[in-house]
Amino acid sequence: MSSASLALPLPTIPAWRRGLRRSLGHRGLVIGSVILALIALAALFAPWLSPHDPYAQEVTQRLIPPAWYAKGSWEHLLGTDKLGRDYLSRLLYGARVSLFIGLATALISGLIGTTMGVLAGYYGGRVDAVVSYIVTTRLALPVVLVALATAALVGGSLKVVIVLLGLLLWDRFAIVTRSATQQLRDAEFIAAAKALGASTPYILLRELLPNLMSALTVVATLEMAHAILLEATLSFLGLGVQPPTPSWGLMVAEGKAYMFFQPWVIVIPGVVLAVLVLGINLVGDGLRDVTAPDGRN
């Protein structure tokens, strides 16, 4: 007899399913993931996808334009560089370099930053003051200059870049994990664990850390993009990855002398760099939107 609709009990959907559904609905996240997946696959299967050896120099085939130009050929789809190396192959192998550096740096800086942030957030007081001070100091350092100066002294190389950037890019990890830990520090499940006699390392690793994962992945993606851009900048200036290793930044540097007449030598690596970073940023932003508490969107 009553008019208004009755409240029916809704079937509960598991949390991961809901998360997946929301992720699939987020356009940016989907596009970014597709881009990342494609580049990752290209990097993974580079040896099989590359038509040529990226290190093979062919002096007679220097600076051939990409296939769609008049003087191009299908032999070298994206042309060749100043030493006659196939551009497409170098691009594919360059993806490996960029992704590897991005992941490794994010890992190192993530470890450093998370440790600092969690300790600062959990213990507060002096520990927090010290960590905050270190973070402020690190933020005051002009990263590019310091990285350049150090790389100049030690000598640039892939390993140096990774270690250097790993030691420099941990600040956002520290800041985010610190505030997240502060918020969770007084939560009931932490108190419950303590009441059960759990040791501090246990609490931090098994109780606290899993709850920080969503924030961490967002920061990790953003720092990965940051690292990739910085490596490209360092390599561009000659203090990053050293030739003949293909790095997209290095390829732009190598092409700079010829850019006025053969613009593709700098346009192509720049575009793929931008696309990769775009993909990573879209994924990071998308993850942040999807994991944010409802009501904020």
Partner: protein
């Protein structure tokens, strides 16, 4: 309010000191400076001569104390490469970098704020989506590549602007765009977020209920309250720009502070490098201080007592 300002100043100074220590140690510990100065060709005897000549055989702390003592008086010693003192070199180049940074920030702000306001007012419309797209693409492009592309398009292709040098104001346009574009997305997003926040507040509803024109509601009432965090961020971004000017100045041959730093790094001219790192850090600390004070002034508890 005053106590807050004082505390921030104190922190700022100690951070400056720490930065000085860090950059000093970085240079002196990451390699043998004497060898680097003397050059790879030199013999062991030469290296030793260099070591004594530049006082590199003395204890680290003493070297640092000396350097710091002089630095406070703005005496950073003499360049290894040029005949001039470091301060002279810095004095020549600093105005160029400051001009570049200023124009870059201005351009970024001129684009970011109106875009952010429009995106907030017409939320979820094509304007909003377009501005978010521009923001996300802008932050993906590496600045050195963007700088080169600008040259290709505007200086070479269209021949509208000069390629390199710093004599006329036209020389600053492309570098300013290349330096400023990276700050634009974050400024725009903050403006948009701030406006959305403010536009939902009660006093905006009151303003609308009074029958004020939409323009007045947005500009007089909403923007005034939303803009302060954006100004604070702008100050911080300027600090980043000063630090990141290295690449842009090299590409455009602007002979600014960044290029000086880069050239000095290549030439192992360490007094200059140390000085530039510290100076840029000082600017950054000063700008973040300004930003913090701006944000604190926003808090009504701090105002008219």
């Amino acid at each position: 309010m005053l106590s807050y300002v004082f505390r921030r100043l104190l922190v700022g100074f100690s951070v400056m000191l720490t930065v000085a220590i860090v950059s000093f140690m970085l240079l002196h510990l990451s390699g043998d400076l004497a060898t680097a100065i003397a050059g790879p060709e030199s013999s062991a005897a030469d290296v030793e001569k260099v070591r004594v000549q530049y006082g590199l055989d003395r204890p680290m702390a003493a070297q640092f104390a000396d350097w710091l003592g002089a630095a406070v008086r703005l005496d950073f010693g003499r360049s290894f490469y040029f005949q001039n003192t470091v301060m002279e070199l810095v004095g020549e180049r600093l105005p160029v970098t400051l001009k570049l940074g200023g124009v870059a920030l201005l351009l970024a702000v001129i684009v970011a704020i109106p875009l952010g306001v429009l995106a907030a007012i017409y939320r979820d419309s094509w304007v909003d989506r377009l501005s978010l797209l521009v923001a996300v693409v802008g932050q993906a492009m590496p600045n050195f590549w963007f700088a080169l592309s600008l040259i290709l398009v505007f200086a070479v292709g269209l021949k509208w602007l000069p390629v390199a040098g710093n004599t006329s104001w036209q020389h600053f346009i492309l570098p300013a765009i290349a330096l400023g574009y990276y700050a634009m997305p974050s400024l725009m997003r903050l403006t948009r977020a701030g406006m959305l926040d403010v536009l939902g507040s009660d006093y905006i509803r009151t303003a609308r209920a009074k029958g004020l024109s939409p323009a007045r509601v947005v500009f007089k009432h909403a923007l005034r309250n939303a803009i302060i965090p954006v100004m604070a961020l702008a100050a911080v971004e300027l600090g980043f720009m000063l630090g990141g000017s290295v690449v842009i100045e090299s590409v455009y041959s602007l002979q600014g502070l960044g290029q000086l730093a880069w050239d000095s790094i290549s030439r192992n001219d360490y007094p200059v490098v140390q000085a530039v790192v510290l100076i840029i850090a000082v600017f950054y600390i000063g700008l973040t201080f300004v930003a913090d004070v701006l944000n604190a002034a926003l808090d009504p508890r701090m105002r008219t007592r």
